[in-house]
Chain length 213, copies 2
DNA sequence: CGATGTGAAGCAATTCACAGCT
DNA sequence: AGCTGTGAATTGCTTCACATCG
C-alpha cells in the first residue's frame, strides 16, 4: 500500500462524503464498530467496494471485527480536509442566495460563509443572516484580504461566467455553481455543479423506460 | 447499431442533458450545424465520447458536416422524454421549498409543480406561487388522483425517509431528494440527490491536494 | 470464525484510428 | 477535405477470492 493521493480515482473521492454521512448516523446510534458488510447494506453498495476504497488511504479496520466508527469518520474527515474551517463566499442574493445563506447545514460541516455579494443596489448594504451584502466590485479585495477559498455562485445563468472569471482572478480555488450553464474554468480550479433540472432530465429517461413494460 | 435502451450505460444518460444545454445555447446563437469537435471544446470533453454516446441512439450526424443543432436537440429531448409535461409535486415548504417553488427553471423544461405539501399548520391552506399548500395526509389521494409522477423532497433529514415511503406508496416513480440523508428506495424507483455539503466535501480534497505543490 | 486488505480477474467506459460517406 | 460512426485497443473501475490476522 502506497497512499499516493494522486492515484486515487475521482469516483472514490466522491464516495467518501457518503461514507462519512453514514458513519455519523451510526455514531448517533451509539454503534462503535461497523463491518464493510453492514455499511454496504446501509448504503446499498458492495462491501468489497468499500474496503477497496478505504484501502487507498490506509488500513483502518481490524480483521475479524470491522472498523471503529469514530476513528474512521475522523480519518476520512482528515483526508477530505473537513477537520478545519473553509472560508466561503456567496455571490447572488436572490431567492436562491437567500435560501443558501440561511441554510443551517454548511457551518456545522466547516463551511463558513463570511461574505455575500450582489449587483442589486437595493440589496447592497442590507444584512442577511448576520452578513452584510457587498457590491460586486468588492469581490476581488474581499477575497484577497480574507483569503476566501471557496465561492458559491447563485447568480442568473447569463452573469455566471463573468462572475466566475472575477472570482478566479481574485484567487478562488473551488466553486459550487448553482447557475444552469456549463462554465469554463482552468484545470486547477475545482467546480461542482448543482442543477436540479439536469438531474430531472436524466431521471425521466428511466421513468419512460420503466413504465413501458 | 441496435438501439436497445437497456444497453445504454447510465453515464451516457447522465450526459445527455448537458448536450441539450449546450445545443440550446448554440441554437440561440443561430448556429445550425455543429461538429463533435466543436461541441467537445464547448463542454471540455472528447469529441469521440460525444460521437460514441450519440451512436447508442441512432445516426444523427452527417459525415463531413456534423450535426444539425435543432434536429439533435429534438432527438435527445425525445429520448429523455422531455417532449412532454411531467406532473411534479413538492413536499416541504420551508425556506428551501419556497425557493424551489419560485424557481422559474422547472416549468419551461416541462416539469410542472402541481401540488405542494407541508406539515406546518400555519403553512397549510396558504397560497405559494399560485399553488395551495396541502397537509401531508393529502399526499396519497392527490398523487393518485392527479397521476403525479415525480416528487421533489425538501423536508428536514429526519422526516425524509417517512415522506419518501408515503410518496412511493402513493405511486411516485421518480424522486429529487434535497434532504441530506441516504434514503432507501426500491429498485424500480429512480432517485437523484442534491446535497451541496456532499458536493463541497469532495471538492475540498482537491483544494488540499492542489495547494501543497 | 469473521472480517480486513489486496492481487488478480472480470467488466465497463473511454479513446483510438480509420473506413466510408458528403 | 472534413467529419461521422464504430470495431478494436486501451484505460479505469468493480468484484472476486483468499491469505492473513485478531
Amino acid at each position: 500500500m502506497d497512499t499516493n493521493l494522486n492515484a486515487v480515482p475521482d469516483v472514490v473521492i466522491l464516495r467518501l462524503p457518503l461514507y462519512i454521512r453514514a458513519l455519523n448516523v451510526l455514531l448517533n446510534e451509539q454503534k462503535d464498530v461497523v463491518s464493510s458488510r453492514q455499511l454496504g447494506s446501509f448504503l446499498q453498495m458492495e462491501p468489497a467496494q468499500i474496503r477497496k476504497d478505504l484501502s487507498y488511504f490506509g488500513r483502518f479496520g481490524k480483521q475479524g471485527r470491522g472498523y471503529n466508527v469514530e476513528f474512521l469518520v475522523n480519518e476520512l474527515g482528515q483526508i477530505l480536509g473537513l477537520d478545519r474551517k473553509w472560508l466561503t463566499c456567496l455571490v447572488g442574493m436572490g431567492r436562491l442566495g437567500q435560501a443558501i445563506i440561511n441554510y443551517p447545514g454548511f457551518a456545522p460541516e466547516g463551511f463558513d460563509i463570511v461574505a455575500a455579494f450582489d449587483s442589486d443596489t437595493r440589496q447592497i448594504g442590507t444584512d442577511v443572516g448576520g452578513i452584510k451584502v457587498l457590491p460586486m466590485l468588492s469581490i476581488g479585495p474581499t477575497i484577497e484580504k480574507r483569503k476566501v477559498a471557496i465561492a458559491i455562485v447563485a447568480v442568473p445563468a447569463q452573469q455566471a461566467q463573468s462572475v466566475v472569471d472575477q472570482l478566479i482572478h481574485a484567487g478562488i480555488k473551488g466553486i459550487l455553481n448553482y447557475a444552469p450553464v456549463a462554465l469554463k474554468v482552468p484545470t486547477d480550479i475545482v467546480m461542482r455543479n448543482i442543477d436540479p433540472v439536469v438531474s430531472l432530465q436524466s431521471l425521466t429517461f428511466y421513468l419512460l423506460r420503466n413504465q413501458q413494460r
